[in-house]
Symmetry: D2
Subunit: 354 residues, 4 copies
């Protein structure tokens, strides 16, 4: 109820602050009998972890996951999967200078107002470090969902954007560069730009797109829990996200119905896919694709004016390490959250008919 649980049948509850002893979670409702590939889980964590390339924060944190329960002889048992990622890089001193300071466009101020107390070290619970717990759960959901495939990638960094339609993206190219943009040329330009932004001590936003293939017909529930509504919530729950669109999205608002409608083939597939694989909130078997907008992260290495907890104006120095552009590291998080949504609806689909 306080919002640390996601899902209704395949559900994960996460815990943990950026600089506490550990972050982690409990996955409840994961079906029994999945032969878990633990390396694949760690691999997704590695795609998210800090320090993995020259264009992300240089903080070093191995992000190794420890499982406490729910697995036996290599398989899921249907009982809850408890896990933790121990925080090994808890330099609390780094944050003493912001103990009483409300960083602009961060959650410091609202946390203090809401709870009357906050763990200020590294943003505490509001840190994007929390998303590592999601990646673990999502990596398990992916294994449950196979042969459904989920591939996210960077489609824009600032105003540099990829023009390829999601259904035409070569997903095998995504992991070949640190930006995780499937077009090598665009990726190179993005990388250069991010390095420039880093030198300026600044940050820049971007867009992560995702394409999901081999989706069965029938995922998603009418009315409030439409498939794209849950996908939207899932994405908007990721730190720094400002927008979500699927299928034709915002551009589709400018089309006419006669142009936008997806005509059927006689096998039930559609000739076009402006619906983005979802009609009436339910998957129709076509590829699902969507875009997720990330703002430039608020932590910059420049001096800013701000206020403290006494409502006094104070100067804040930019120092330490930062992510000049968060989208490359957000790619596995987008996949994880999408996988959790699909896993949940896959289970729910089993209950639709007698």
């Amino acid at each position: 109820m306080s919002g640390n649980t996601f899902g209704t049948l395949f559900k994960v509850s996460t815990f943990g602050e950026s600089h506490g002893p550990a972050i982690g979670g409990v996955i409840d409702g994961c079906p029994a009998g999945i032969e878990l590939d633990l390396e694949a889980i760690q691999k997704d964590l590695d795609r998210r972890k800090p320090g993995q390339s020259a264009i992300v924060t240089q903080r070093k944190e191995p992000d190794e996951v420890t499982f406490f329960s729910g697995l036996f002889e290599g398989k899921t048992t249907g009982t809850p999967i408890g896990y933790a990622i121990h925080n090994t890089n808890q330099k609390s001193k780094d944050y003493s200078h912001i103990q009483d300071t409300y960083r602009p466009s961060h959650a410091d101020y609202v946390y203090d107002e809401k709870y009357g107390i906050r763990d200020y070290r590294g943003g505490g619970r509001s840190s994007a470090r929390e998303t590592a717990s999601r990646v673990v759960a999502g990596a398990i959901a992916k294994q449950f969902l196979a042969p459904v495939t989920l591939n996210a990638y960077v489609s824009a960094v600032g105003s540099l954007s990829l023009d390829t339609h999601p259904s035409e993206v070569d997903v095998s190219s995504i992991e070949k560069n640190p930006v995780r943009c499937p077009d090598p040329k665009v990726a190179e330009a993005m990388e250069t730009y991010i390095k420039q932004i880093r030198k300026e001590g600044d940050t820049v936003g971007g867009v992560v797109s995702c394409i999901i293939k081999n989706v069965p017909v029938g995922l998603g529930e009418p009315a409030f829990d439409k498939l794209h509504a849950e996908l939207g919530k899932a994405m908007l729950s990721i730190n720094a996200v400002k927008g979500f669109e699927y299928g034709s999205g915002f551009a589709g608002t400018q089309m006419k119905g006669s142009e936008h409608n997806d005509l059927f083939n006689t096998d039930g597939t559609t000739q076009t896919n402006r619906s983005g694989g979802i009609q009436g909130g339910i998957s129709n078997g076509m590829d699902i694709y969507f875009n997720v907008a990330f703002k430039p992260v608020a932590t910059i290495m420049q001096n800013q004016e701000t206020i403290n907890s006494k409502r006094e104006a104070v100067a804040m120095q930019g120092k330490g390490r930062h992510d000049p552009c968060v989208v490359p590291r957000a790619v596995p998080i987008v996949e994880a959250m999408a996988a959790l949504v699909l896993a949940d609806f896959s289970l729910l689909k089993r209950t639709n008919k007698i």
Copy 2:
């Protein structure tokens, strides 16, 4: 679980098909002691109902709500509020021609695949008629939320768009024209365009924006249930919605952090509001604003090729009545869903501290 309930503390469960005896709902968790203005509820229903102006569907349906419970001597009692809107315009014959036909970009095909049965009359449960039940619940939520104000309006129809920033919109002008666009000139152009589209037997998409004022600090929960994540889900659950963005939105992805950060004033307000009134998923007391993208509705008055339930190609004639552009009628629905989200978080906020 099958997705017909929205909210956790202030929650509504809706029921009803387009051409069944009635639609309606149960609101559970509405606090006791609200003096309900029943006329205000009916007024919101009237803003949504068909036949209200020349640019919406000419179907006539009074949409009068009957309350069964939860009210006593003009006040809410804290017990569940049951209500129904009886369907008075059930021309089932209208739909016999599509009984076995899967209309393009409608939910007919996926319903049949998912449930093995469907009430084909007027789209059954997948009809946007269901949203009338939401408007009732949202109208009650609005009265609970006062003095918070929620004003939605049409900011784009096709490529005709309003440039005014949400915080500068004159909300008193919204209801002065049938398009519900607060700028009379833009509204007029939109109205002319919609009439043109109607003559073509076509439809066009658009954007509804919403501005929420007088929001207390502290609404929204960290991690998965961020305020904007629930708002996004709420909007994406409305029929025909393809995208959601709040604050700086997709445009913000092109900004630098040094430009995007909202610097504080010493009273805790911010000098700019690119955050859209939400930081770290929690309201910060500034205005909340967001955009909702609506596709052109799929029902057009033109002939289309499609398939039937035997997977045969069939011709489908466009006939009857239709909404050339759904956004004017969507305005009260957007407000209703936003009000439900805020009401829910307002109650949850009471539990944050000892």
Copy 3:
């Protein structure tokens, strides 16, 4: 959240006050494709309704259910089933004398303290009239569950009790007498006793037992949502219930493990069934049986001393109509609640394995 919804997958939300326009509910998550026998639903309502025999309250209320949605051509469609039972016997004047009076062992006092307002007519929401809404949902759940059979019956009225073990009860005899006790002789004694109690203007408690047969193995979830824990909650949520025990129950506490353990047959059944068909919270395929304790209802036709809302001592006259013993009418309610629990777990069971 305010407790008017039961179930997680097969779930019902009820509404309605004793003397409001109607009571009813919304069933969400009922699988599509059930051919509904509407007469069987009405029959269960008739078993619960007032005025059905000489030993229950003589209030006349037909309790006819109207369905608003979720059914099409005789089958469930998977969409929410909305329904109402209109209140036809709203003699509000009957209750003006207790408007400000807190009846002993009723909910009047706690409602006023909790909500600051209450619909005092006939107990409002706290009236057992609410359970009629449950009977509708339970009757549908029964049809989904077939060939599982659920039979409740009266096993005690005051100190008159039936000695037969639930597994040996002749369920075909239950409905043959107004008490709903399967042993004709015991039933007769109970009936005589209830008539005596009625003459005294008094009430008496009793026990309803229930036997469930043909249960598949695997219903119920470990840890908190054990099958018997949900059954217990379901029963304790019925008005006037003070206790629940299943299998060996309270008497089993006096046994030794060597006597109590149910030894297996080689087909997985057990030689004895002290477990009551449930082991570790999960059904084992043996008969499920349990007892539900009902207190003597608080409404008596005798004068009592009590207080009013100003905390003044007042005399209260017993007048009007009352149920001298509630257990005969509680029988279909117990069945309904048990059916809802089993339907929910039947759906959930589908998600246990890959």
Copy 4:
């Protein structure tokens, strides 16, 4: 959904198998600002742990809890509290002899049928070891609830029972003997009896009672989530529980309404308390008391005939360590579950009125 989460606002999700690396949980929704007494939490764990006295299992397990999150500078922060109790006594070899054996009246058989796989070591997830995770959460709930006090105690072991009414029990005497029965003489007889049972290699059941004082008026929700219904579910979810009754309970069924009704005093208290502190599902400010029936645990040190996973008859030797009577160790578990229920409803109560 798979039943490892308890509560809606103050909620705990637990994980862990008897012989896995750790058990633990995540508490979500605990209000911010509670100064946590960590020693009090450990003390409750010590009251539950094995090896604490001569009448419980002699297995040694320190049961020390490690907190991962949610606490800062000694206070709760409102963010989720993650914790683990590492299993230090994982003698997996002990259990190889029962790998394929279904122990009578244990959950082995139903787990295999339900999940197709199970961690057979020490009962895996079905072990009562899971309840240690509940004690942690309950101990925190107790601190939130103060000045409400919750005291459970043993009121029966086999046929040896305590006659004192719960409201007259001297709660300060409970912890003075290993049985946790507040009457020293009865406790001594119980202790002697349990030792006798242990020598026989047998087990015996018993009853735990609980008395809750200083309860505010207004906890519990009408209809399905009545206070006693949630208490009942909470108790029935504890391993080995077969029954629950509150207030007058099963004995109350034999009373007349004129005897059973609790007449009011002019301050809103009642002259008697047969209602057990709850009317209409809502606390009325009087003491809450209830009884919980525990069966004799199924693990006995005697040889038994049973079957294996191939449905073959096999002999099973009783060996190792066991609990001859589980009720003394169940006392803190009963308190913990009751505290979780009250904490949840305490938060929910804040949302009842405008």
